[in-house]
Symmetry: C2
Amino acid sequence: MFTVNQYFDGKVVSLGHEGADGKATVGVIAPGEYEFGTSTVEIMTVISGKMNVKQPADSDWKEYKKFESFRVEKGISFKVSVDQDTPYQCLYL
Amino acid sequence: MFTVNQYFDGKVVSLGHEGADGKATVGVIAPGEYEFGTSTVEIMTVISGKMNVKQPADSDWKEYKKFESFRVEKGISFKVSVDQDTPYQCLYL
């Protein structure tokens, strides 16, 4: 029914689905810092708590809070850091 | 790391975690109608799309949309109906 995706030894887990906003995942990130790559444009939304993000075009980290979103361009890698379990949604454009 | 919970033959899947709002799950519900029971008070939040909900105290279904929440009392059963894959968050109080 839904795909269960595990990354970084299970520290990042997501559920793939296709809902009102198209192809998407919801998942959870355990405390730590991670680097992700994109194969499409992605819209990430924090569902609870906060997420620190460093995109390649930015010199500094930016903090995103509950229900805040950010766009990630296709074909880049970006860093995410969280200090507690942080649920998120990702849309694939 | 995170628990993967499957219900209704995998039509409802959730990821258990403990984040900024305490004990929680994020999950996805496939199209259909389901009846859930609660063992604690729960706060459900729709992440994308919409969800129709019928609580025992209500005579009619109510529709909740993206980022809208509803509270479910402890020890009851309630019905949820969705017409497409619908991601949600559940907090356990």
